[in-house]
Subunit: 369 residues, 2 copies
């Protein structure tokens, strides 16, 4: 087995966190040789790493060079590899060019391997428990947000008001973030988009929420401690949905049911996505560019969720491989038309031998009074 | 000028956010040729990018290939470069190997340039305003945290209690996070470490807070909207500090004053750090390994702050270049001894022609009653 090399921080880089099991904000070195895992690190993190890191050994950079500084990192790296008699390494796809250059300049061969840790695609019981915990926080949070929209009043100008203030996307997002914190989670972004904004799948939403308009709430907290994500979307209308909105909602719900029914170990991911596309086409929901805007269903049906919010496997045209037992994936068809708005419904499921187990218990409904 | 190429998401990658001015969670392509800035993107983000991105033009991947998927990204990338008649690109140091491989396989030359956007080291008025705003939130937040510690009671076992509950690091961090949110900021991590924990500079802290022990509070919120960070540390003791703690605190305060006095445009960063090291040595605060643990002063004196919490320039032995006007850097000497704990005091300053402007107004004191 070619030795595995990662050089990254473990706060942003999930492979490094998966490998080292400790959160460190600056780049450090992880080397796995014959199954033995070592991290190499500077003075600042050395004591903590020795206590917390889930590796076989922790080595201080000072073993390799005196007077450490950023200019000397290249020397340290080469000394580490020499010391281990390594002439070839495998690295993850996101391995940084500045480090690759040091290796290439020193005749160390590099093989890019993606996915780097195949196991990350297959969640064990402990990981599913962690994801389920975050999903619990996510559902309690969504309930709080929806309760507020439920209690809000409809003004004459159709804006919603809550506690005598105009109810905004920003207010709901702050409520969501506070609930996440109470549950030991956080989120850098939340989507609470209304009306035309919701016709852009990744528009975070701003300004007043309106009655009788589609409101997409897509929230994806991350545990502060376990670092696992969950991901869920619901679409609601406060007041009355138009017949067009109802038709869109029913189509998306139908598409999701279809996809949920197709998912099981051994089924090719791209074919599930194709089925969803066909379903929308058959229902006359067209996808394509119109007036310079992409409309219809123009994102994947789903993606893996774990230490990254978007990870393998995807349920999209690009993934021609079969789903496998213990994949954790979202199932989130959506339809988007600028004149009406967007509808997306997203659950998180574990792929099983015979189908899938839905980790999302939150009810699905369009209108709230 | 060789064209600039970035392929990254803009949520984690600050160069990409700096270049494109829009938050996008998945990798996309930024190309700058003869000063003209273009981003290339998939259907999912296309509408939003056209509205929000701060570039000259936004091109849909579908211009280059039909039936987009992850397998075809390589073809899209090569077609983009062919279309622009580009045979050589400059890329940032963190450019991903998986993309570099595509370029190399197609005989496109790659030059790694670091720093990629030199301007990021020099903050303009607008950026300093944004950082100052975040620092305002940071100081209001720290005041709330310190007020709670101030109001807490000292139990017989020396644990602090607040509102009849044992006061913990976790509780204070939740308070901090909620205050950040109220100010439109967030933080993935906060350090509130007490006693022995505080002798590890990056120990986040857990469990009860104790009277008569050093408590290090190091907080670094990021604006949810502007994405700029601030960074500040204070060290306090609830109750009575021991003479050793006081000596350490005075030394760190003295070292910070020394560094703040030395900082000005034209002064070499490593020499400032060296002065701080010498100052501690002269005061008989030794640095080095003892009983298998690094002790004393073993991190840099400071680092740049902006769209990244750790960015250039560093004030450390590795940076032999002079500081320049409009650098924004932390000044944060610290001392750490396992038997006593840690002391760190951190301000954020703008380098000026004649010295520096301190953006941190928060008072410095050790004991609170």
């Amino acid at each position: 087995m070619t030795p595995k090399l990662i050089i990254a921080d473990s706060e942003k880089d999930s492979n490094m966190f998966y490998a080292a099991g400790i959160l460190i904000p600056d780049d450090f070195v992880y080397l796995e040789k014959n199954g033995r895992k070592t991290i190499y690190i500077d003075d600042l993190e050395y004591n903590r790493a020795k206590k917390e890191a889930k590796v076989d050994s922790v080595v201080n950079y000072s073993k390799y060079i005196k007077g450490i500084n950023r200019d000397t990192f290249g020397k340290i790296l080469i000394n580490i590899l020499k010391d281990n008699r390594i002439k070839k390494v495998t690295v993850p796809g996101n391995f940084k060019m500045k480090y690759a250059k040091i290796l290439m300049d020193n005749k160390i061969k590099i093989e890019v391997v993606e996915p780097f840790f195949k196991k990350r695609e297959f969640k064990n019981k402990n990981e599913i428990k962690k994801i389920t915990e975050v999903q619990g926080v996510n559902e309690r949070t969504l309930q709080v947000a929806i309760n507020i929209i439920g209690k809000s009043k409809i003004r004459k100008d159709k804006k919603l008001s809550y506690q005598n203030k105009i109810l905004t996307s920003e207010f709901i997002k702050e409520v969501i973030d506070v609930e996440f914190l109470k549950g030991g989670c956080f989120s850098e972004f939340d989507i609470v988009s209304c009306g035309k904004d919701s016709s852009d799948p990744h528009n975070f939403g701003t300004g007043p929420l309106f009655a009788n308009q589609l409101i997409v709430i897509d929230i994806f907290p991350r545990s502060k401690t376990t670092k696992y994500f969950s991901d869920m979307t619901r679409t609601i209308v406060k007041g009355k949905a138009s017949p067009e909105m109802k038709k869109m909602y029913d189509a998306v719900l139908g598409a999701q049911k279809l996809a949920l029914g197709k998912i099981k170990a051994g089924v090719r991911a791209d074919l599930i996505h194709k089925k969803v596309q066909d379903y929308f086409e058959n229902k006359r929901f067209k996808t394509g560019e119109k007036d310079g805007k992409i409309q219809g269903f123009f994102h994947g049906t789903g993606h893996g969720v774990g230490l990254d919010i978007h990870e393998l496997p995807n349920i999209s045209l690009g993934n021609k491989k079969p789903l496998k037992i213990s994949n954790v994936v979202t199932v989130e068809p959506g339809l988007y038309y600028p004149e009406i708005g967007g509808v997306r419904i997203e659950d998180l499921v574990v792929v099983t031998k015979s189908g899938c187990k839905n980790l999302t218990k939150f009810p699905k409904f369009l209108e709230i009074k």
